[in-house]
């Protein structure tokens, strides 16, 4: 019997199940223990696993991210929680110069089984410094895997796979998704990294989106369906490695592709996907690949301005119609 759980509970279950099986796994970060996590993702884990495996840190990302990398190098399997990915920048040197490179620079002598996880993207009126989508930055770096689940089922299955992976994983949880409810299968399951999923089958265009953009994509597809347009929604789930094949397969079928991305347009993940679709599906495309992204500017604090900066359903519908040559 599938159960309905919240996104944050699914993540919690993934960590708890894996920690029970493997005592090399520990969770470390700001407020993960006694406060049960800033977003309550680690609720109850301190009680269950004790202070040795659920560790509260000072506000020092550069330090505890580095500790996580070192711990992984010597055989442990850390989960490092960043209170938000906006705070990861002070740990950028650890992530880019150490986490991403040690396996290669050591000639394979070290593995690096560490998961860096936390919320990303905009929430509500958190202003420019706390509303950022960082996946394009991390996906740019060879050596890092970037995972972005869109629903509780994917969140649990992907986090378990991430914890079991021997590479450093950037695991970005949509901040506004934590309370989302969704069905998850009973019992043990994982979802492999690097495998996309068709979230809704369709024939007239492909909408690619990940994390909370999947919700926008699905709502857009529903709005289009009311007008007789059947959109196929494809969620890569893992930004890197990217499941290019499924994306190509979908666009080859629908001939048109719209990419939704919360982050900024320039050098965005969508730009890379658009290039790959353009190259692989060239002879199948009936229109140039279309992108709808976040506004190319620091996020305004003002609520109304903020709404204008985040892709939403009306704009996605308009972009889809443009792609279908239904609107100028």
């Amino acid at each position: 019997m599938p159960r309905t759980v919240a996104f944050r509970e699914a993540l919690n279950e993934a960590m708890a199940e894996e920690m029970e099986k493997d005592d090399r796994i520990f969770l470390m970060g700001e407020e993960v223990g006694y406060y049960d996590g800033a977003y309550k993702v680690s609720k109850g884990l301190l009680k269950k696993f004790g202070e040795k495996r659920v560790i509260d840190t000072p506000i020092a990302e550069g330090g505890f991210v580095g500790v996580g990398i070192g711990a992984a190098m010597v055989g442990l399997r850390p989960i490092i929680e960043l209170m938000t990915w906006n705070f990861s920048f002070v740990a950028a040197d650890q992530l880019i110069n150490n986490a991403a490179k040690i396996r290669q620079m050591s000639g394979g002598q070290f593995t690096l089984p560490v998961v860096f996880r936390g919320p990303g993207g905009s929430a509500h009126m958190l202003a420019a410094q706390h509303s950022q989508s960082t996946e394009a930055l991390w996906a740019h770096i060879p050596g890092l895997k970037v995972v972005m689940p869109a629903n509780p089922k994917d969140a649990k299955g992907l986090l378990k796979s991430a914890i079991r992976d021997d590479n450093p994983i950037i695991f970005i949880e949509g901040e506004v998704l934590y309370a989302d409810q969704g069905e998850i299968p009973d019992g043990e399951y994982t979802i492999p990294l690097g495998v996309a999923e068709v979230k809704r089958p369709g024939t007239d265009l492909t909408i690619i989106g990940w994390s909370k953009m999947v919700k926008i994509a699905l709502a857009t597809a529903e709005a289009l369906a009311a007008e007789g347009i059947e959109a196929e929604v494809v969620d890569p789930r893992t930004i890197r490695p990217l499941d290019e094949e499924l994306l190509v397969q979908s666009v080859s079928k629908t001939k048109r592709c719209l990419i939704l991305e919360e982050g900024w347009p320039f050098n965005g993940v969508g730009a890379e996907i658009a290039y790959r679709i353009g190259r692989r599906c060239f002879d199948d495309l009936d229109a140039p690949v279309e992108r709808l992204t976040g506004a190319d500017m620091p996020m305004p604090y003002n609520h109304h301005l903020e709404q204008q900066c985040i892709p939403d359903v009306p704009r996605a519908v308009a972009a889809a119609k443009k792609l279908l040559y239904l609107e100028e």
Binding site: Y189, I191, P192, D243, Q249, D283, A287, Y325
Partner: protein, 476 residues
């Protein structure tokens, strides 16, 4: 002084011309009246003659190229003149020139007395352009073998022109053997997209199964290849669930691109049937006397008359008797024509054309017969001049020779009516209280209700019936 020659408008309804074949090479001398090229209009293949003495300095489009009326096609001048500037100008103009969309066509080439309709000026934004100028000279074809010589513009570049089409449209056109230069684009800036190629293919012969084959191919020929680990059982059904059931193997349908004529027929008849309020009147004609008359003429004069000749002449005389029905509707007025010019629909390869017998009311039945045979023969050879198939005031369409008893024809605007003629058949007829073998023909008049009301139409039809039943009037 060298000058640019444009694609001429060779008929009222011509919007696009196909340069079928150049008859002169670059560098050849031409004199006035000499044929430089053959141009296919919507109705006929016509000679493109030189007006001036000079040398054909540059051909701007290639054999087979299709361009809107007014698009530069050649430069003529003195031997050795520098035409670089003119070529630039021609390219710029070709770029600005856009093919009017078929659906944007004016309903009809205006009523006869009205000034001859000019094609609508091309929209400046190049919307619906069939061809647009390339900013640079067409690149040389790549050394690699071309997959589709016939439909790839790169393979036969109509100098300085470029077809805007999506990659998918290009691939489909290649697969279907469709020449994109003959396809109207409906995408942004006139880009040809999938639906346009599909429409062109379907216009050719109904369902285009090849297109379906092309459409389905990516799904079947590109199976998902994933390096990922096998999916857990719970996830598998959802992943596989999207696969479509295999399609049945396509049948052998034939896809024929629209010819200029087919395009024009489609366009004009659609306008006629959707904008002209038709109504229909049917009457039976006792053709006994007319068939005797026909035989007598053959015996006495040795002239062979067809039933259609009798009908043409009868219509002409009837229109003279009921002149209000020899009329056209215009926005501001009803125009009652002074002349009686009868169009006769002639089936030809890939379509039909309606050559006109001028002043048919004034010509003898013998003249009408000779002229109709001659016009029909040249129509079938596509040798009619535009003035020979335009400007009728009334038309006759006859399918009797094909065993059709009754049908209703579509009016050819701006004409006010058309007569559809069925076959002459032997039937039991009551004459003087006795049943005899009689010869009957059903005729159906389609009227434009804006011009001809029911009673007026009935009056005209009555007059036609009366003349055919008393064929002696045909002799005058």
């Amino acid at each position: 002084m060298a000058q640019i020659l444009d694609m001429p408008q060779l008929s009222d309804t011509m919007k696009i011309g196909v340069l079928q074949k150049w008859r002169k090479n670059e560098g050849d001398k031409v004199s006035p009246g000499e044929v430089m090229a053959e141009i296919e209009t919507d109705k006929a293949v016509m000679d493109f003659e030189a007006f001036d003495e000079g040398v054909l300095l540059k051909r701007l489009i290639a054999d087979g190229a299709s361009v809107p009326v007014g698009t530069p096609i050649a430069i003529i001048g003195k031997a050795g003149e520098d035409v670089a500037k003119l070529i630039e100008e021609a390219k710029a103009r070709a770029g600005a020139k856009a093919a009017p969309k078929p659906e944007a066509a004016k309903p009809a080439p205006a009523a006869k007395p009205a000034p001859a309709a000019k094609p609508a000026p091309a929209p400046a934004n190049g919307q619906a352009a069939t061809v647009a100028a390339a900013p640079k000279p067409a690149p040389k074809p790549a050394p690699m073998p071309m997959r589709a010589v016939a439909s790839s513009p790169a393979a036969t570049p109509p100098a300085g022109t470029k077809v805007l089409a999506s990659p998918l449209a290009r691939r489909l056109a290649t697969d279907l053997g469709i020449d994109l230069r003959n396809v109207q684009g409906t995408g942004p800036g006139g880009r040809i997209v999938e639906r346009d190629v599909k429409a062109a293919a379907e216009g050719g012969s109904g369902a285009a199964t090849d297109w379906h084959a092309a459409e389905e191919a990516p799904q079947t020929s590109a199976p998902r290849v994933s390096a990922a680990a096998p999916l857990p059982a719970q996830i598998v059904p959802e992943r596989r669930g999207e696969a479509r059931p295999a399609q049945a193997a396509p049948a052998e349908d034939i896809v024929r691109p629209l010819s200029m004529m087919r395009r024009t027929i489609a366009e004009r008849l659609l306008v006629a049937k959707t904008t002209v309020p038709h109504f229909y009147l049917t009457a039976d004609v006792d053709m006994g006397a007319a068939m005797d008359f026909r035989e007598q003429v053959a015996q006495v004069h040795g002239a062979k008359l067809s039933v259609n000749d009798l009908v043409l002449k009868a219509c002409a005389l009837a229109l003279r008797k009921v002149p209000e029905a020899n009329a056209s509707f215009t926005e501001d007025a009803i125009i009652q024509h002074a002349r009686v010019d009868i169009g006769m629909a002639v089936a030809i390869e890939d379509g039909l054309i309606t050559p006109v017998i001028r002043d048919a009311d004034k010509k003898t039945i013998g003249q009408v017969g000779t002229e109709s045979r001659e016009l029909a023969a040249r129509a079938r050879d596509r040798k009619l001049k535009p003035e020979e198939y335009t400007g009728a005031t009334f038309s006759v369409s006859n399918l009797g020779m094909m065993g059709i008893r009754h049908f209703a024809a579509i009016i050819n605007p701006p004409e006010g009516a058309i007569l559809a003629v069925g076959n002459v058949r032997k039937i039991p007829m009551v004459k003087d209280g006795k049943i005899v073998v009689g010869q009957q023909m059903s005729i159906t008049l389609s009227c434009d209700h804006r011009v001809i009301d029911g009673a007026l139409g009935a009056k005209l039809l009555q007059a036609i019936v009366a003349i055919l039943e008393q064929p002696i009037s045909l002799a005058f």
